[in-house]
């Protein structure tokens, strides 16, 4: 299946583009998607602990199963205000 990964701020700079399509096996979780991304961009490993994930606009745990067409946002710590 294919999911769209959205990246922001420092993570976007590491990945080099704001949006990226990942091809994942059926049944893959959000953590699987993160690991696929971190495998490609080793600099992400250092910030895994402070990064949150959201699917289609709602926060999820790494254990959440993804579906074809999901939008997975990879969110570094917020700095608005």
């Amino acid at each position: 299946m294919r999911v769209r990964v959205l990246t922001f701020a420092g993570i976007r700079e590491i990945v080099g583009e704001p949006s990226r399509t990942l091809a994942l096996p059926e049944g893959a979780t959000a953590a699987d998607a993160w690991n696929a991304l971190a495998g490609e961009f080793p600099a992400l490993a250092a910030i895994a602990g402070s990064t949150r994930l959201a699917r289609n606009g709602a926060f999820i745990d790494g254990s959440a199963a993804l579906r074809e067409g999901d939008e997975l946002a990879v969110l570094p710590p917020f700095g608005g205000g």
Partner: protein, 142 residues
């Protein structure tokens, strides 16, 4: 009332107009302004903000609704700017109108505190020496 993420300069007056009503005797506003020292001790030339609007706007609405139910009835408007901001420019504007002032003060402070923790917006400090850094907000429990 009015919830907005925009690249245009913020207009505090339009937020006042969005929240005022014949029932409200008090309006409290908060403006976040780009200051030379940023959040740290290094002088900045300006900031850049980036948002995930599809998630940020619903979260801003949720915070506004919470503020109104927690402290007493209040009318809330929130606008956040994104893109490049120079010194002195307004990054966030919040207006809260209520019948009485204590509610308006409490609700306005709640909104900015929660916004900094919960709304997916990011800030890059552009230092005078040319370096840049994405700078997260401090945790309230730090």
């Amino acid at each position: 009332m009015k919830y907005e993420i925009t690249r245009e300069p913020l207009d505090p007056q339009s937020l006042l107009d969005a929240v005022r009503s014949d029932e409200c005797g008090a309006i409290v506003t908060f403006l976040g302004v780009v200051r030379v020292m940023g959040d740290g001790d290094r002088p900045v030339d300006g900031l850049a903000y980036e948002a995930y609007p599809e998630m940020a706007l619903p979260e801003m609405r949720a915070i506004g609704a919470e503020a109104s139910s927690r402290f007493g009835e209040a009318r809330v408007a929130i606008a956040h700017r994104i893109g490049d901001l120079a010194l002195g420019e307004v990054s966030v504007a919040i207006a809260v109108a209520s019948k009485h002032r204590a509610v308006a003060f409490d609700a306005c402070e709640y909104v900015i505190d929660e916004l900094k923790q919960r709304v997916p917006i990011w800030k890059r400090e552009n230092y005078r020496d040319g370096e840049t850094r994405w700078r997260p907000n401090a945790s309230p429990h730090a």
